[in-house]
C-alpha cells in the first residue's frame, strides 16, 4: 500500500525518482548482526532530465553513500529507486548492465580514480570493452571524448599514464571516462574538492558545457555551498542520513529555512577583509553517531532553536512555499 503510493507520486517524466531510500550497514559480530549503521534514512527526491541537483552536507552526512547507492555500488536496504520509469532498487547480475551504461561516475580524488598501470587510452577503452563496443569504434570514441574534455591535442595525452598529468588533466580524464558511454545521469562526488581553486572553475565550466550539450542530469555531491550557486538548479541539504531541506538553489541560498542550512551558509568563508573580525556562528558539536542517532530530530543537540518536541519526535517533511521542503518542527 505504502509502496504503491510512492511509485504513484513519482513524475514519469523525471529521470530519477528516489523514495524512502534507506541504507543500513549491518554490524557483524561473529555470526550475528549486533546493530546497523543507518547511513541513509528515508531519503526521497526527484531529479528531472537535464537538471543539476546538488547534495550538500558535511562529512558523514551520507551524501557519498547516497551517490554510491544510486550507482548501485552500495545495496539499498529499503525504499525505491525509479530510473526512467523502471524500478532498479534491487536488480542484480546481468539485468544491471543496461543501467550501468546509463550512469557516469566522477570521483573526488582523480589520482585514485585512475588505475596507475593503464594509460589514458586503456582507461577510456575499459568501459567500452565491458559494454561490448567494437574495436574499430573504440578508438574513435576515445578521441571524441578526449576532445570534448579539451585534452587537446589528443595524441599528446592518449598514451600517457595518469601520473604524467596534472590534477586538472587527471580530473578531465575521469570526466571523459564518465562520459564515454554517453550516460544520461552523472553522479559527481565532490569532483573539484581536490583541485586548485583556479582549476575548479575550469572543470565546473566544462561540466556545465557538457551538461548542456548532452542534456545530462547531474547529481553534484559537495560540501561546498559556494560552488552550488554557479552550478546547480536544485539543492538538497543532508544531515546525518536525512535530507533536511530541499529547494531550488536560489531559494535555499537566499532564504534558508532549516537551522542547519542557515549555519552552513554562514560558514562560507568571506574574502572581504572588512568582515575579518565578524564572529561566525557555527553550531557547536559534531554530527551524531549513525549507530545510535539521537531520538527526535537528529540535529537537536546542535540546534540553537531546539524545542521539546525536537527531542521527542522526528520532524516530518514539511512543504513550505510550493517546492521548498524542510524537515524541521519550526515550520510544523
Amino acid at each position: 500500500m505504502q509502496k504503491g503510493e510512492d511509485i504513484k507520486s513519482c513524475n514519469p517524466s523525471d529521470l530519477l525518482c528516489v523514495r524512502k531510500l534507506c541504507v543500513w550497514h549491518p554490524i557483524r559480530k561473529f555470526l550475528t548482526v549486533s546493530g546497523y549503521i543507518r547511513a541513509l534514512d528515508d531519503v526521497s527526491f526527484d531529479l528531472e532530465r537535464g537538471r543539476i541537483l546538488a547534495i550538500v552536507g558535511e562529512s558523514g552526512s551520507g551524501k557519498t553513500t547516497l551517490g554510491k547507492t544510486i550507482l548501485k555500488i552500495h545495496q539499498p536496504t529499503k525504499g525505491r529507486i525509479i530510473y526512467d520509469g523502471k524500478d532498479i532498487t534491487f536488480i542484480k547480475g546481468k539485468e544491471i548492465k543496461w543501467y550501468r551504461r546509463e550512469l557516469g561516475y566522477v570521483q573526488q580524488d582523480p589520482y585514485g580514480a585512475l588505475p596507475p598501470f593503464m594509460n589514458i587510452r586503456q582507461i577510456l577503452e575499459e568501459p567500452l570493452i565491458i559494454h561490448g563496443i567494437k574495436k574499430s569504434e573504440r578508438i574513435y570514441k576515445v578521441r571524441e571524448v578526449l576532445e570534448e574534455v579539451k585534452l587537446i591535442p589528443v595524441e599528446d595525452f592518449i598514451n600517457k599514464y595518469p601520473h604524467m598529468l596534472s590534477g586538472g588533466q587527471q580530473q578531465r580524464v575521469v570526466i571523459a571516462r564518465a562520459l564515454i558511454l554517453r550516460p544520461k545521469l552523472i553522479v559527481a562526488d565532490e569532483p573539484v574538492s581536490m583541485l586548485d581553486a583556479s582549476v575548479r572553475i575550469e572543470i565546473l565550466t566544462l561540466f556545465r558545457e557538457l551538461q548542456k550539450k548532452y542534456n545530462l542530469s547531474i547529481m553534484y555531491i559537495t560540501h561546498d555551498l559556494s560552488t552550488t550557486k554557479y552550478f546547480s538548479d536544485k539543492i538538497a541539504v543532508m544531515y546525518a542520513g536525512h535530507i533536511v531541506e530541499m529547494a531550488q538553489t536560489y531559494k535555499v541560498l537566499s532564504k534558508p529555512l532549516h537551522p542547519y542550512t542557515q549555519s552552513l551558509i554562514k560558514a562560507i568563508p568571506d574574502p572581504d577583509p572588512r568582515n575579518r573580525t565578524l564572529f561566525r556562528e557555527i553550531p557547536p558539536g559534531e554530527p551524531p553517531s549513525l549507530l545510535n542517532p539521537p531520538p527526535g530530530c537528529r540535529f537537536h543537540p546542535r540546534c540553537p532553536y531546539a524545542m521539546d518536541i525536537c527531542r521527542r519526535e522526528e520532524p516530518p517533511v514539511i512543504e513550505v512555499d510550493g517546492t521548498h521542503t524542510v524537515k524541521c518542527w519550526l515550520y510544523g
Binding site: K68, L71, K72, I73, I96, K97, R100, R101, L103, G104, Y105, Q107, Q108, D109, G112, A113, L114, P115, P116, F117, M118, E126, P127, I130, H131, V174, R177, L181, V187
Partner: protein
Amino acid sequence: MMRRVKALFRELLMYKSALIGIIIITSLIILSLYAIITVPYGEVVRKWNSIEPWEDLPKNAMPSWVNIFSHRKLPETIVLDSRRIDLNVNKTIIPVSSGKYILRLLFTFSYIYDDFPNEIILRLYSNTTKQFTVQITWIKPGEIEYVIGRRVLRGYEAYYISSDEEFLKRFYTNLINRLGSRPNYDVSVDIALFAKEDSSILNRNTVEVSKGEYRTIIDVLIGEEDLNRVQIDAKLVVYGKVYGAAGTDHRRRDLALALIWGTPIALAFGLVASVTITFAQMFIAAISAWYGRGFDFIVQRVTEIFMVLPFLPILLMISYLYKITIWMLLGVVILLSIFGSGVKNYRAIFLQIKEIPYIEAAIAYGTSSFRIVFRYMIPKILPTIIPTIVLSVPDFVFLEAALALLGVGDPQAVTWGRVLEDAAREAALYKGYYYWILQPSLLLLLTALGFAMLGLALDKIFNPRLREM
C-alpha cells in the same frame, strides 16, 4: 611496453649488484643451455646411474686444475687400448716353436708425475671362449723388468694389478735381496711398479716416482690354428689422481657432468616453484579478498591449516611411500606451498587495493568480478611481486638440495643435491675430498647470490621507498 622494459633494464644497470646478479644468472643460463643442447636429460640419467661408461675414470680423483696450484704434479689417467690405433701400442706375433706362436702386445707410456697412480687395471679381451695363457711383464725406466703375473684368459679377464699380493711378495724378496733391508711401511703394488728402487723406497716419506718411459708386455701363447681366427686385445689403465674439471666420485663418475646438468635442473626447479607458488598465492589471495565473506572465510581457514601442516615430514612420507621423480617432487612442493603465508600477505594488500576509488569506478561502469580481479587488482600488485619471485628462486634451489641431502625424492636425478648427498654418505670431508662438497655448494651459493643481488636491486626499483635506506 617494450620501452618500459628497456627503461627498467637501464635503471637496473645503475646498480652494481644488479649487474653482478645478471652476469651470474646469465652464465648459469648459458651453462644450462650448453647442458641441454649437448646431452639429452634421459641419457644423462642413464649414464649417471650405470657403471660401464665410467670404468676408465679414476676413483675419487680431484679436479685437474689443482695441478696449477701445486708444484707436485698429480698423475692424470693413462689409458692404453690395443683396439684403438695408437703409436704407443704395438702388436706383434713371434713364432716360438713348431705350431706355437706368441702374440705380443707392447704398451709404451711415459710417466712424468710426482705422485703414484691411484690404481692399475689391465683388461684382456678375446673373441673366443678358448683358454689362453697370458704373461704380463712390466718394464720400468732403467730396464728393471718384472713378470708381474700369469693369467688364464677365457673370453674376458680383468686383472687388478694393484691388488696382486703374489707379485708383491716376489717384489719384497727381490727388494730385500738388493737393498739388504725391508721398507718401514707397506709398499703397495702401485708404488712397487712406479718407485725408484734405491734406498729412497725404504721410507714412506722419501719414496719417489721413477719418471720416464714404462713398457708393459702382454704375451699370449697361441696355436697355429688360432693365428688368424683369434683376436686378443688388452686395455691398460693407469688411474691418475686428478680428472677433468670437477673430479670424480666414489663410483668413478665425472662430477662435471652432474654439476653442469644440475644447473638447468636447479634453475628450472627454483624458477618453476617460485613463479607458480607466488602467482598461485596471489590469485587465491586476490579472489579471497575480492569475494570476501564465506569464500574468504574458507580460504583463510584452509590457509591456516596448510600453514601448520609440517612440510618436511609430509614430503618425507610421500617420498617413502611413492617412488617420485624430481618433477613430481616439484609438484608436491608446489601443492603444499600454494596455501602458504603468502596468501595472507597478499590478501592484506588486496584488501587495501579493493578500497582504491578506481575499483569503485570500475564497478560503476559495469566491470565483472573476474575482470576486476585480473585487470584492476592484480596489475597493481605485480610490480612488487617481481622482486619477491626473483628473491625466492634460491629458496627452492636450496630446498631441492636440502631434500636430496635428506634422501627425499628422485634417487636417479642428476642434481647438485644428489652430489652432496653422495659426498655426505661417503664421508667426503672426513676423507679429505673437499672438492666433492665445495663444488656443488659453491654453485648453490652462486645461484643464491645472483638471484639475491638482482632481486634486491629490483626491489629498490619497484619499491622506491627502500632506496633511501
